[in-house]
Amino acid sequence: MLTIMRFASIPGGTDLTALYRATVGDYPKFFKMDTACKLGFLLAEQLADEPRFTSREDRAVLMFSTCGSLCNDRHYEESVKDFPSPSLFVYTLPNIITGEIAIRNKYEGETSAYVLERFEPEQFIALVEQAFQDGVTRSAVCGWVDARADDDFTAFAFLVERDGPGKEFNVQNLYGTVNQ
């Protein structure tokens, strides 16, 4: 059984730079990231447990959205008209958010990015549960990070663990946690 160990969310319109300065402050790579990656990074910081920065293969990072990298794709497409920007291009992949979280935290397990039509708790929970089939994964940072624009986003994430002391990771508890 999967259990909810921690939950984090960032309200739409939050000043992400201010949040970074208030809660992290020592990771300048943050400023290179696109909005989706900044959101994922800040959520993962809030979910991180001790010991930190220790290589581990048993933790997956699974991120979901509807927009994928589209917000940053528009910035890259703008740059193409003058001079294509390699630093924008590397963020035109929906899975870079999982890579940024893995690098920061030394999570060496599975990283996967999914694009779905909308947030449906049943589908979200099923896809997360399926990632635990491999027998190695014991916990996962899993979240919905949908950056429609740089100032318009939905962002929340869970730390779930197999057979942990938290509440069961099911639809009822997911709603209960998100709405708290």
């Binding site: 990072v61 497409e77 899975n95 060496e108 039509e117």
Partner: protein
């Protein structure tokens, strides 16, 4: 545990419209890689393997959606399954989908997945796996998981990529493209070529045929756009699948082999660490270019075909080993009697994946 097997396949590429046509073209040493000037409005010329858009674009649909749906239709027909059944799932693998229309249309990847499901009257919510260059492999693994997770009898896994100014200029800006046909693992390799293709596999339960035995996705946790110097994620993914087979059982490892300096070197290190230096290695990027969201599926299907024919496909473009570890790159066609192979891929975001395929009845 029930076995997940491949029960229908399709490939659309510049080299053919069926798996058999594509396989025959690879065996003949063909490639559609050629130099394009002014294509997609790109200022710099590039070498790529592109499909005939007039042939494949259905009126009222984009080229990308057309090849996704056609590849799915052909695989569904080959498998003889009911695509409208609520017990049939669809998984779409792509990186950039309809991105060439970003200025004029809704290019959300999930919209393409919805169009795919709707075309077949399928009621299930669509799933897009967009895990950079390992997307196709990750989508096959996702299809397997959906079957084992319960609720599905079949999953149609479709991978496709349409090239565009967006993608070509991006790789040019990273200085990742070769100005000539690419040379996987070769001493003079200097970058990759992009390619277009669509490929699909229908997965289901069974005893015979090609089993998708297992697979793993692992992250380097090192860099978002460069591979690990120690091949960390690829090694861990290989180590995972090797729990379920002996290296001696493998006909070959079909590697990513993009022909960039760093990727091929990284793969050689991962193969050595995984104890696979004695297993033949081949790569298909010199034939099809890097077909991105299609690559994992396209390359897996052709690998299955080659084992069916008792062959190890050649690595087009390779002549002299140019990586630091003595991997056994298959330059020309060879025979094999073995009945299993590993598909290996890596991508931006530090992501790596390995899948183990085994033909029915093989003991381990």
């Amino acid at each position: 545990m029930r076995k997940v097997v491949c029960i229908g396949e399709s490939i659309l590429s510049p080299l053919g419209a069926t798996p058999a046509e594509n396989f025959a073209a690879v065996c003949r040493g063909e490639s559609a890689l050629r130099r394009y000037e002014g294509m997609f409005g790109c200022r710099e010329p590039f070498v790529a393997s592109l499909m005939d858009r007039e042939r494949w674009t259905v009126p009222g649909r984009t080229f990308f959606d057309s090849i996704v749906i056609e590849a799915a239709r052909r695989a569904v027909d080959a498998a003889g399954i009911d695509p409208a059944s609520p017990r049939t799932g669809f998984v779409l693998s792509t990186i950039k989908g309809n991105i060439e229309h970003i200025d004029t249309q809704d290019v959300t990847l999930a919209v393409s997945a919805r169009r795919l499901s709707d075309t077949f009257g399928n009621p299930n919510p669509a799933v897009v796996v967009s895990n950079a260059c390992i997307s196709g492999l990750a989508a096959l693994l996702q299809g397997r998981r959906m079957l084992l997770g319960g609720g599905f009898d079949h999953v149609v896994v479709v991978g496709a990529e349409a090239q565009s100014r967006f993608i070509v200029t991006g790789f040019q800006s990273l200085k990742a493209l070769s100005e000539a046909p690419c040379k996987p693992f070769d001493v003079s390799r200097d970058g990759l070529n992009l390619g277009e293709a669509a490929a699909a596999v229908v997965l289901g339960f069974g005893e015979d045929g090609w089993e998708l035995v297992d697979g793993a996705v692992r992250n380097d946790a090192n860099h978002i756009s460069g591979p690990s110097r120690t091949g960390e994620g690829s090694y861990k993914a290989l180590r995972y699948v090797l729990r379920q087979c002996y290296p001696e059982e493998l006909a070959f490892v079909n590697v990513h082999g993009t022909s960039t300096l760093y990727n091929d070197e990284m793969e050689s290190i991962a193969l050595e660490r995984a104890g696979l230096l004695d297993v033949p290695v081949n790569a298909l990027k010199g034939t099809f270019g890097h077909t991105m969201g299609a690559a994992g599926i396209l390359e897996s299907i052709l690998s299955m075909r080659s084992v069916d024919a008792g062959l190890i496909l050649p690595t087009r473009g390779f002549s002299e080993l140019g990586v630091s570890r003595p991997v056994r790159v298959s330059a020309s066609m060879r025979r094999t009697v073995k009945q299993a192979f590993v598909k290996l891929l890596s991508g931006f975001g530090g992501v790596n994946g390995a899948l183990l395929f085994r033909k029915g009845g093989g003991a381990c």
